[in-house]
Amino acid sequence: MRERRFTIWVVLAILLLVLLNLPAAQTLGVKNAVRSGLAPLQESVSNGWHRLREGWATVRGLGGMAIENQRMATEVARLLGEVRDLKLLERENEQLRSVLGFTSRAQRDLIPAEVIARSRDGWWQTLRLNKGAEHGAAPNQAVISVDGLVGRVLSVSGRTSDVLLLSDPTCRVSAQILRTGAFGIVSGRGPQWDGSVVCRMEFINKNIPVQPGDEVITSGLGGVFPRGLLIGYVDRVSTDRSGLYQYADIISKADLGTLQYVFAVRDASPGAPYLRVQQEGARP
């Protein structure tokens, strides 16, 4: 009896040791299988949770709905005007480019996805999406929302993708200040006490003036993030310890804490700012 028990313990110990030392490819396979298996359940629970929150928000905001409706109508009218202007500019831009002999920039495919889980647990800042390799998602694709850059795809399983958020200190983005063209590297500052998302843009040329409120966009350098995606706005500017560069605290435009729908940018080659949403059910 004692011998049998000893054998069981040895087998269990070996099993644990094997599990702890499995090669990355094997562990990824196991993880992907579990993630794909749990994805439908996570999606249902996430949807239910989202509806509950929306319902509660609706109940709380009933009094202010008329004012909100009026404000939205004004906003829609303003945006429609902007879209008309942009269409004109786009046409003009295309004509000028063809006159100058530039090649026409291709449109990018966007994969619409829904957030089914979020891990803002302090160690890592990630989201899980309900679209994976089967839908065309792949590691290192940029992920955006209607407001701007969200992060990049870290890993994919058949039906899910994990996204490393912009707020994670290990997510580094080559960026540019729109007004001055100054380059720098944006990385996350981790979770903040008030739940806000703060990033820092480092290695900005100290001779280029940077002001609070300046728009920060992706530069397209580095090959992961397409050029021209809005990251956020400069909040505060300082000089680094060496005195050679400036750094700026950036407030992210996309509200990473409440995201529900995002898009993975399928074509990651640097270039066109134009985006086209992939039709539901379309395959890569």
């Binding site: 644990l16 702890l20 579990v34 749990l38 302090g122």
Partner: protein
């Protein structure tokens, strides 16, 4: 039937744990539903089922995060076996037992996982954040474990897996 109950509970707990929001005051530690389950099995079932629950709970938890596979399983297994070893010395149906063991189990596993991540240089949090996380895990473990225990006890009693609570 016990196996079915275990799998069902693991599925629900893992999904809820990944969905429930985290807070700054607890160091962004998630609600420890999985460690609550491990505690329940450690106090109520035989050793083989304790190990099975610990290994599966850890496997699912690691799979749903960026944690290296096996880390949490190891932590849960060791903690589960220690609790199982000493459960005859405590009153396993008392909520004070659940609070104390839940807090210690969750803080212990968090500390172990953190040490493993730091060893492999996978995280670089400030010292204050790490301390807050361990304290938060301790507090959340103490809060959540009695709830999970009560729910699981009711669930298994309904299914006929365990005897009804005597206290």
């Amino acid at each position: 039937m016990r196996q079915v109950a275990l799998i069902f509970a693991l599925l629900i707990a893992s999904v809820l744990q990944a969905t429930l929001p985290t807070t700054a005051w607890s160091g962004w530690a998630p609600a420890p539903l999985m460690s609550g389950l491990v505690l329940y099995y450690s106090l109520m079932h035989r050793r083989a089922l304790v190990l099975e629950a610990a290994l599966l709970a850890g496997l699912v938890e690691d799979s749903l995060s960026l944690m290296p596979l096996g880390t949490t399983s190891f932590g849960f297994a060791v903690a589960g076996l220690i609790i199982e070893r000493y459960r005859d010395d405590v009153m396993e149906h008392q909520w004070t037992t659940h609070v104390a063991f839940g807090a210690m189990l969750n803080a212990g596993v968090t500390l172990f996982s953190m040490a493993m991540l730091l060893k492999d240089e996978l995280i670089h949090p400030p010292l204050f954040h790490m301390a807050l996380r361990v304290i938060g895990s301790f507090g959340l473990g103490g809060l959540v474990a009695p709830l999970v225990f009560a729910l699981m006890n009711r669930f298994e009693t309904t299914l006929g897996g365990v005897e009804a609570e005597s206290s």
